[in-house]
């Protein structure tokens, strides 16, 4: 363990701004990418459902 | 747009993008592949002396002198072969230290003094805890004392 307290940890030896800007932005971007992929999946399935219905109608 | 026209537009756009990228790359290579020049290169007149350029090397130990205003600083950049004196007015980066790497941008005056408008620290690729660095330093010192005739730093 490198830190004596939690506030010590947050202060990052005086480099809090730079360290947390790096970690924060990365976390945000990764979460955004996951959300985007989930949305993409929903949309692709929705479009495929429409195509399937069209095929059903045209075959009946 | 007809399909053929569209294809042409795509190929044209692709070529244009490639040209811009190539221009960017070549331009970057031309000016910046050598991000800085060493003091030896400066003495050999390989650096563009008529315009601003960057000089890089180590801050010579014991050469850093601060003026009374607290902002102006003079130091010497060395590559162990040649030395170039530098003056700079401004805030130095945290890692600026004697014996450590430095890159300064500016012009070389006729008096041989490099007047910098920007000073960057160039650190090495070693990472270790302070205790390890200290131990390494001690080891180096005691090793040196074995060779030195008046070495009395034994524990």
């Amino acid at each position: 363990m490198n830190w004596s307290s939690f506030s010590d940890f947050l202060a990052m030896g005086g480099y809090a701004f730079f360290v947390w800007m790096s970690y924060g932005a990365t976390a945000l971007l990764v979460v955004a990418e996951i959300a985007w992929v989930v949305k993409q999946r929903r949309q692709s399935l929705a479009r495929a459902r429409v195509q399937r219905k069209i095929r059903e109608w045209s075959s009946s | 747009m007809k399909p053929r026209q569209k294809r042409l537009a795509i190929v044209g756009g692709g070529l244009a993008a490639l040209a811009v990228t190539a221009a960017l790359v070549l331009n970057a290579f031309e000016d910046n592949l050598l991000f800085f020049f060493s003091p030896t290169q400066v003495y050999a007149k390989e650096a563009p002396l008529d315009r601003p350029f960057r000089i890089g090397g180590l801050v010579e130990a014991g050469s850093v002198k601060r003026e009374a205003d607290g902002l102006t600083v003079a130091f010497k950049v060395t590559d162990t072969a040649q030395v170039v004196p530098v003056t700079y007015k401004g805030i130095l980066p945290d890692l600026f230290q004697e014996g450590k790497g430095v890159v300064a941008r500016g012009r070389l005056g006729p008096d041989g003094v490099f007047r910098a408008d920007q000073v960057l620290a160039r650190h090495d690729e070693n990472y270790m805890p302070p205790e390890a660095a200290h131990a390494l330093e001690q080891a180096k010192k005691s090793q040196g004392s074995v060779v030195a005739p008046a070495g009395g730093s034994g524990k």
């Binding site: 692709s44 459902r49 | 790359v25 890692l95 960057l120 270790m128």
Partner: protein, 265 residues
């Protein structure tokens, strides 16, 4: 052996394989991230010259590695697409690009926030930084090129060519710090040696592993959407919707896209 590989080169069977693999890679990514963050931010000591600003390394270096490595994998799929003319290849290139771009951006971003406190500048135009910016532009260029071509198969071919042309940039990035004077320092980790304390190195390698696992998981998830999107007219996707429970059995009407509660039927 090769028969098995080519079996999975069909998007339909790769869709299933990817679905089975994703949870494993995602779990590995999550566990490695937790372990890596714990080692890097809690256990690892302060650096002797950079203080705690060096802790950005646990994101910066893995992101830069994965940014470059993903491009190489993309180029491999692109080459396979040109040689074997398989549909899956183009889809994989398409699936990898956004994540490669993301990690390259993260490397540039964290590099800026690391450069400011250590070098004294957010950005400099040295060979390492410039060539990494070009890598980011290559990813963006690939995605823009795809978006500008309506026919996916033609977009595959054009994208593959662009990807292969750009691959020359990867060795330039990697060796830039050796070939030219740069502000960026040399590599701390080279094959067979490292200039980092063991705990620090361990944290960084664990984070790199996490980023690698994440990249595999997220691009497999993305390629599944791309497969469904691009094969939506085929019968197997229709059967898949039923098999996975996204619509009712044939004849019971699929429901309106976006309507809730279809799974319950």
């Amino acid at each position: 052996m090769s028969i098995h590989w080519f079996k999975y080169a069909s998007p339909a069977s790769f869709y299933g394989l990817a679905g089975r693999l994703i949870p494993w890679f995602a779990a590995a990514a999550a566990l490695a991230t937790l372990a890596g963050l714990y080692i890097g931010l809690v256990l690892a000591p302060t650096d002797f010259q950079q203080g705690d600003s060096y802790r950005i390394i646990y994101i910066h270096v893995p992101a830069a590695w994965i940014g470059m490595f993903t491009y190489l994998v993309m180029a491999g799929w692109a080459a396979a697409g040109i040689v074997f003319n398989t549909r899956l290849s183009g889809m994989m290139v398409q699936a990898l690009a956004p994540t490669g771009a993301l990690f390259t951006f993260i490397a540039l971003w964290t590099g800026a926030f690391w450069g400011r406190p250590t070098w004294g500048a957010y950005w400099v135009w040295d060979a390492r930084l410039t060539s990494t910016l070009i890598l980011f532009f290559l990813y963006i260029g690939y995605m823009a090129l795809r978006a500008s071509i309506d026919d996916p198969r033609r977009a595959d071919r054009a994208g593959a060519l662009l990807t292969l042309v750009g691959v020359v940039n990867i060795p330039i990035i990697y060796f830039s710090v050796k070939w030219w004077n740069t502000l960026h320092q040399g590599a701390s980790v080279k094959p067979g040696s490292s200039s980092m304390a063991t705990v620090m190195l361990t944290g960084m390698l664990v984070m790199a592993f996490a980023a690698w696992m994440y990249t595999i998981a997220i691009s497999l998830a993305r390629v599944r959407s791309i497969i469904v999107e691009r094969e939506q007219h085929s019968a197997w996707v229709g059967e898949l919707l039923v098999a996975e429970g996204h619509v009712g059995a044939p004849g019971t009407s699929g429901g309106v896209p976006g309507s809730k509660g279809e799974k319950a039927r």
